[in-house]
């Protein structure tokens, strides 16, 4: 099946997801903390070049699921297949990152004392090679590498419109800008899969619009697959191609935004059931 234009492929995806090989398959994930079942039997597919939202009430296990994907939590059950062959649940976080999985955090986890530039350059870490000796000598290979990757980082800076703060220490920036820098750090990794944990939390509507615009631009420009956790239903329904709904650690809905909106279990979870 050959598709030339991206839009037709994407619309095809949303109507007939089985036609394309998923980039990530979450299969029957079970995660316990002692007696608490954070996730049980969660499974869904993420398709290439789509925006997959994960929604659910507080404590539903959304962030836990993201942590399983990026290797920070080790689920007791199930597997997460990336690119059809790598089981992310068996890998360490830095190995997952090397496969091309980047993420941002709900509470900003930037390197506060470093400049914006250095934070973004750290995003290039997996693509750089220089070690202790070449780094210590610097002039020569390491400098060439620095310049080459600085060029890439500057591209990300242009994309996110943060030129004016490149040399500022991140800790001194406003909340909204920090969120943007964190997105930038993830983008600098040139990932295949981008996990965004509430990128719009705590923002005003203008900042939310900016962020939504960045996410859409990036998804299109870099041909990215995005997994997005977000509480703002307006944003979720607008920008995502597919939505997975978690409630008390269980998957209660998975489909296009319209399907999910009509799903009775989802409505019950959000609005409560009539007794």
């Amino acid at each position: 099946m050959m598709q030339t234009s991206q839009t037709s492929e994407q619309s095809n995806l949303t109507t007939n997801p089985k036609a394309v090989m998923p980039i990530m398959q979450v299969q029957d994930i079970g995660l316990r903390f002692g007696g608490v079942h954070a996730l049980s039997g969660v499974g869904f597919n993420v398709y290439p070049r789509t925006i997959q939202a994960i929604i659910g009430p507080n404590g539903a296990g959304k962030t836990s699921l993201l942590n399983c994907i990026s290797g920070l939590y080790k689920p007791q059950k199930g597997q997460i297949l990336f690119d059809g062959k790598y089981d992310l649940t068996k890998m360490k976080p830095h190995e997952v990152a090397k496969l091309g999985v980047a993420r941002s955090f709900q509470n900003i986890e930037l390197f506060r004392h470093m400049s914006v530039l250095d934070n973004l350059m750290l995003g290039r870490h997996i693509h750089m090679k220089s070690g202790v000796i070449s780094g210590g000598i610097y002039w020569g290979a390491a400098q060439k590498e620095e310049i080459q990757h600085r060029d890439y980082v500057e591209h990300v800076i242009d994309l996110l419109e943060i030129q004016h703060i490149r040399k500022m220490p991140v800790g001194a920036l406003a909340y909204g800008l920090q969120k943007r820098v964190e997105l930038g750090r993830a983008l600098a990794m040139a990932p295949k899969l981008l996990l965004l944990d509430e990128p719009m939390a705590g923002m005003n509507s203008e900042e939310k619009e900016d962020m939504a615009r960045f996410v859409l631009d990036i998804a299109e420009e870099q041909q990215l697959t995005i997994v997005l956790i977000e509480h703002d239903m307006g944003v979720v329904m607008d920008i995502s191609d597919r939505v997975a709904v978690l409630d008390f650690g269980k998957l209660i809905g998975d489909g296009t935004p319209d399907e999910v909106k009509r799903n009775q279990a989802v409505i019950d979870a959000y609005l409560g059931k009539e007794h």
Partner: protein, 352 residues
């Protein structure tokens, strides 16, 4: 941030000293370092050598504590290992001076790597205690060296070695010659460290210090990075140890106790954690302060005949006060103060 400084390519933007003022300061510093040994008395020359030896250790320890955030209070152990390795190699195997230095670094580096292993599981204070254990283990080993190496006493004398014959017998001559040797190695260590912290590995160090979870998620192998930091910093300590061995001409474990580890740690706190230059400011401060106090105290020799007995207490008290002062007033140390001074003059007459 400079205003009015514009660069047209990334290489220029990433220079260490992008403006002419900065370069001029460096030239002045080099001129001072070159002229100093010709005009200084033996006393000050000796002090300068001590400062530079401490600086090497402190720069290395700063990579570990200031940049990577792994507290070690057993760093003198690695200096000791370097010193003993150099001493044994040159007295037993007749390996001449500069050639034993790499071996001293390798031994200290490998042992540092081993004692860095707990950092994979321990953080903060717990790690600090583990490194304290490392210090005691290494010292125990050195105290009982005769169990492993035949005919080794409490201390090893290196005096009749090639290096001392070359550098002549008088103390003044030795101080003068060693000034250049130590300065050479210190310069190498400083250039190496400054470059390291502005390239890939150095950024990973700071990432591990600031946010180890985020560091993992962007692809930094945190445990490996910590081990690299332990190893590099121990190797630099070993280098300093080898130089101390040859400079002093005698190696004794008493010079490398926890006291020394804590002294170097205090240099970092006073000078500025996480800044290469801070380690050197700290080494200067901690070494020069007692010397100045002694000189000052001796002025009162006529009124106070007992002054010689009082001075050590005053030195310790002043040292403690200095640490408290910096912890309260400027936790980022002398390096930050110096930066503030520079900023003031650059922005003058505006306040920001």
């Amino acid at each position: 941030m400079q205003s009015g400084v514009f660069h047209t390519n990334y290489a220029k933007d990433m220079q260490l000293r992008p403006t002419w003022v900065m370069r001029a300061r460096l030239v002045l510093l080099i001129a001072f370092l070159v002229i100093f040994p010709f005009v200084a008395s033996v006393y000050w020359l000796n002090l300068a050598n001590q400062i530079m030896l401490f600086s090497i250790t402190a720069v290395g320890l700063n990579l570990l504590i200031g940049f990577t955030g792994q507290i070690s209070i057993g760093h003198a152990a690695f200096v000791a290992l370097g010193a003993y390795t150099a001493a044994l190699l040159s007295t037993r195997l007749n390996i001449p001076f500069p050639l034993d230095v790499p071996f001293a670094m390798i031994v200290a580096g490998l042992v540092g790597l081993i004692f860095g292993l707990p950092s994979a599981r321990l953080k903060g204070l717990y790690l600090a205690i583990a490194t304290l254990a490392a210090q005691e283990i290494v010292l125990w080993f050195l105290k009982h060296l005769d169990l492993f190496v035949p005919n080794v006493g409490e201390s090893i004398s290196l005096v009749p070695t090639w290096a001392h014959e070359q550098f002549l017998s008088t103390r003044a001559r030795a101080d003068f010659n060693y000034y250049w040797v130590i300065l050479f190695f210190l310069s190498l260590v400083v250039i190496f460290s400054v470059n390291l912290v502005r390239s890939r590995v150095g950024r990973a160090f700071v990432a591990v210090r600031d946010q180890d979870i985020a560091a993992q998620v962007i692809g930094v192998d945190v445990n490996r990075t910590k081990l690299i930091a332990f190893m590099v910093s121990s190797m630099i300590a070993g280098l300093s140890g080898a130089l101390i061995a040859h400079y002093r001409g005698i190696v004794n474990w008493e010079r490398f106790t926890v006291d020394t580890s804590v002294a170097v740690l205090s240099m970092l706190i006073i000078g500025g954690l996480g800044r290469v230059s801070g380690s050197i400011y700290g080494a200067i401060f901690v070494t020069v302060l007692p010397a100045l106090l002694t000189q000052f105290g001796l002025l009162f020799r006529d009124i106070l005949p007992d002054v010689n007995r009082i001075i050590p207490y005053v030195q310790q008290g002043a040292f403690g006060l200095a640490i408290i002062f910096f912890l309260i007033k400027e936790p980022e140390g002398i390096a930050k103060m110096w930066k503030d001074v520079k900023d003031y003059f650059r922005l003058w007459p505006f306040s920001y």
